[in-house]
Symmetry: D2
Subunit: 339 residues, 4 copies
């Protein structure tokens, strides 16, 4: 619900009204879009709310419905795009973040070698799965906590942040001991208990778009996290399921400019899962840069063909280095920073 | 992995071999398809297994790969279709089970009234959500335990079984106190922690197909539950996501005959979520009967337009009664029992 | 555009107004839905029409937009469902029509043998392709006119009507010499020149839904034919393209009840192309009957595995006979006629 | 079919063999992939061909099946990528071609104004529809020949090539009088009569990917044209149909690197139809450049909101100029030429 205010109202008067609404139990966001002063109630309005009553509040001239259901994720909810700062790194705000690493953490040696390779070529965040969601119960399910331990060591040694997937609300505390960013995978994008638990976590959350999630559903999933109190949500476009079978998924690069018009949250692209084809990873990373995404997540392996999972989409350190060179060139053209 | 056996082997010899394999850590299923004696190792074989070594076991003539990864769900794993017996009711085996009730349990009065209406017209299982997965965090999330309490009372009063959705592994114990069947929703079809927990539950599990899950992924999700020890899994086709926007989903009726060739598990059809269109529910229930599904799950509400959720797809008790009459006619034609 | 009329107007007055509108160049349909007298202008209104001027016509009280763009195909455009009569046969109106035959006409012997087999088991229309749309230019493209000649002979000998696909506007005259119904295939559903030419043909047109056509697009394709003057259009649901790869297409059985609410045209189901799986054909034919479709089109071959095209979905005469027995049982239950 | 040759064979011997095969009725392509000399028979092999007989030909050591059915479109069929030269312009080969203009030619003034605007900013080809495929029979169908006449005048005045859609085989001669490239639209991608007729045309053919066409089907459609003798086919990725409804289509940018591995034909991207969203056009044009597509086709209108069709996706001359500036920057980074 949007309360359209008297444009003569002073900032102090509006802040007083906001205070009063918070006291009444509403999340109230002040906005000034198109030179019209408004307060949006993005949380707390339900079927029992007497909407007409708001017209009696001071300053209120008119009551409008919210344009979207994702009030907190909505672009209008903030004056500028969200920038997430972790240690000396930042995500968003014109900076292109490169997250790289193996699909699964396989051993201490493996993650150390890969961390070295990617950090020396410009990655700032190490990725790697310790708890793996696998379609079959009989496939490798990840090393668990020991894997996280190896990953933290590798990240620290090479001055990287690290990110790993959490599949279960009760594992969040464990993950937070080791990683800088919690990843929620595509299959869990509508696992609402996990989203709510992530909303109470201290670390930023990296939320992957579901296989067949619309933009609206994607942003409502982010809204679950935001509405539970965690403002640091990073969106990840990782390919959607279509009729095409040659590639693993159809990477929806247009999601970047389209989501940009809808939300203030950072948007990362995953060209590895997004295509499932090794030779398409670097071109699609280029495309992500060209549309000014806030970064990419790519799978890198020192021996790609021997990856325990998703071998066909992992790139070698050499391919990674070539890709980074190409990204730096495009970054200049589109006025993004990368290093 | 399939061990092809000497056809001269006696039943006792084969059972001994099965015993030995179980001792070695494998789930071993005896089969006799096309007059060829075999043992399928559906669980326990991984990358570290020395596959060639099996040829040295007694009776083994040849080693073949499994045709599918869902060894336990596979049709070949059992001599006949699974029939699940709960109290005096059964699901599967030529019987058409009708599950009916509101989308969400809204009040004691509501669930009692609906239970009365559906039981008097031939439903045997009462459905109703107490924990609701909602796309938006601001929508009605269900009554929780108090709702389950009302539902149990209503089910008992009208001699119905009852089923409700579990969204969270830690809620399974709570649910099992009240309901006869645990439902896992479409959004959680690949929530592997929930699947594993359901695999350790005592009650049967009703697993809904994910919005964009292939048959193979659907059966592998069932395999997660089966491989954790719960043999009582019921599959539910509830519509898939396609390009069509007029209907809520595209109900894939062909999933019934196709899955029938792949698995021994019972298959239920949900025409309410499958179409999202009130007037299409009864015709699609007819279609489910015509392809010999093991039953349907439908949303019934005494005041459909006032449902707190999914109002446009709920049918009235009168429409339900008409639908049941029509189903009884088709049941006779396809030789199914319904009452 | 809908002209809402004074409810006191007499039938004669309304007919006079209709006459006047036709004279002005509009296709004007009289309706009386929900006890409100109206005239719908389904053709002739364009950007240059001065819509406000109509309010000055006699009887007119109000001007409303058409609910859909397919005015002629719209259910409201006719008092009852369209029934198409060809020789002694009819399509629509509670009768279930069975069209059967090979994918492609391969030889005189083949089409004669199949015609005999299907006619003796209750089919009334013989299908078979003489001009085949093939994804690859190097695949068998059909026998052409000689095939049509064989088909006509076979149809006449066994008292069947016959239907064959036309791929090219300039072939319509040729086709009309041999067949009773012109088929337009899924790939040509939006080949507008072909649709317009079919709209000027004398024979009824059997229009297959495009692979990824919405209901709205499907009905607008039918509208092309209707608006060119041919009132005899039969719709065919033949499966849509989805992410599922196990089956050839996803047969959208719900299209039958949904389209029924939108249009007066007959609706046929093709379970052969709709699934691409031999064992799913008969169950899905049952489903089509259960939702009261106006018939089915199935591929039958005396030696299914040797079909020159689409072998995996053709059924044998024996399977066809079994299917027909089953259909007769369900027909009774849903009050349809079949023989 | 691939004939693997004795690697000792001389070029002359191989050319003799090729000659002999052509005489026998086969299209025979010489290749030397991975240092193995081969001849591929991409046309003329059918069910009646005695494949084993080829082993008796001189030089032939082994016979392999073709990896794909699109032998002429296949990357292996040519030593390098196809470059199409028209007058002083070229398409393909590291050059990025910009095709721009209105969706439909509306008037002489309109097309002249737009031609001026786009030519002064670097477009080399003028687009515009004279025959419009419209979903509804009641929508504007285009100006026809008079529109083509205006377009030719505008193109000539501003030193542009021009392209327009042909919907009907019998219109090809007419189109060829006015335009430099014949466009076949997405809806006609499998209109095989039109493809065959385009294969006999003298002008290059611009083939748009069907709404739900796989890469394989797309290349087989191109193969229809190539196999009829026209070697100048340009592929266009223009968005596919998915479940997402916010955008008109999902633009599959990954199609560029993926098709590049499969074919030697030039690949153009259409970000206007591909997204249907004005603000997404320029970013997606950038993405097309970043993956080294051979160009783009965009809809430009001097008064975008007043376009008679597809108004929401047309960009203004100012937006076009901004987009071109950005493209020039990225072109440098990826080593493409654009002017």
């Amino acid at each position: 619900m949007i309360l359209v205010l008297d444009n003569q109202a002073t900032n102090d008067e509006i802040k007083n009204l906001q205070q009063r609404l918070k006291f009444m139990g509403f999340e109230a966001i002040i906005s000034n879009e198109n030179a019209q002063k408004t307060i949006s109630l993005v949380k707390g309005v339900d079927k029992n709310t007497d909407i007409k009553g708001f017209i009696n509040l001071p300053l209120v001239k008119e009551i409008l419905p919210l344009k979207t259901k994702f009030g907190l994720a909505n672009k209008d909810a903030k004056a500028q795009q969200t920038v997430i700062r972790i240690k000396d790194k930042k995500i968003g705000g014109g900076h292109f973040t490169v997250m790289a690493g193996p699909c699964a953490i396989e051993s201490r040696q493996q993650i150390l070698a890969i961390a070295k390779a990617v950090s020396s070529n410009g990655a700032s965040i190490l990725r790697g799965g310790a708890f793996k969601p696998r379609t079959s119960p009989y496939d490798f399910q990840g090393l668990g906590e020991v894997g996280l331990h190896y990953m933290r060591e590798a990240a620290d040694r090479y001055n990287l942040l690290c990110i790993s997937e959490v599949m279960n609300a009760k594992d969040i505390d464990l993950l937070e001991k080791y990683v800088d960013i919690l990843q929620i995978g595509a299959r869990n994008m509508q696992n609402y208990n996990l989203l709510k638990a992530a909303g109470q976590a201290k670390k930023p959350v990296f939320l992957k778009r579901g296989l067949s999630a619309t933009y609206n559903e994607f942003l409502l999933a982010a809204e679950y996290i935001l509405s539970c109190g965690n403002p640091n949500v990073i969106l990840c476009e990782r390919g959607i399921r279509t009729f095409e079978t040659h590639s693993r998924n159809t990477l929806d690069i247009a999601a970047v400019p389209i989501l940009r018009e809808l939300t203030h949250l950072p948007i990362i692209v995953d060209p590895s899962h997004g295509t499932g084809i090794r030779n398409a990873v670097a071109p699609m990373a280029n495309a992500a840069m060209a549309v000014c995404a806030d970064g990419i997540m790519v799978e890198v392996h020192t021996d790609p063909d021997k990856s325990v999972s998703d071998a066909q989409q992992a790139i070698s350190p050499t391919m990674f280095a070539d890709m980074m060179r190409s990204l730096r060139g495009i970054a200049k053209a589109v006025d993004m920073t990368i290093d």
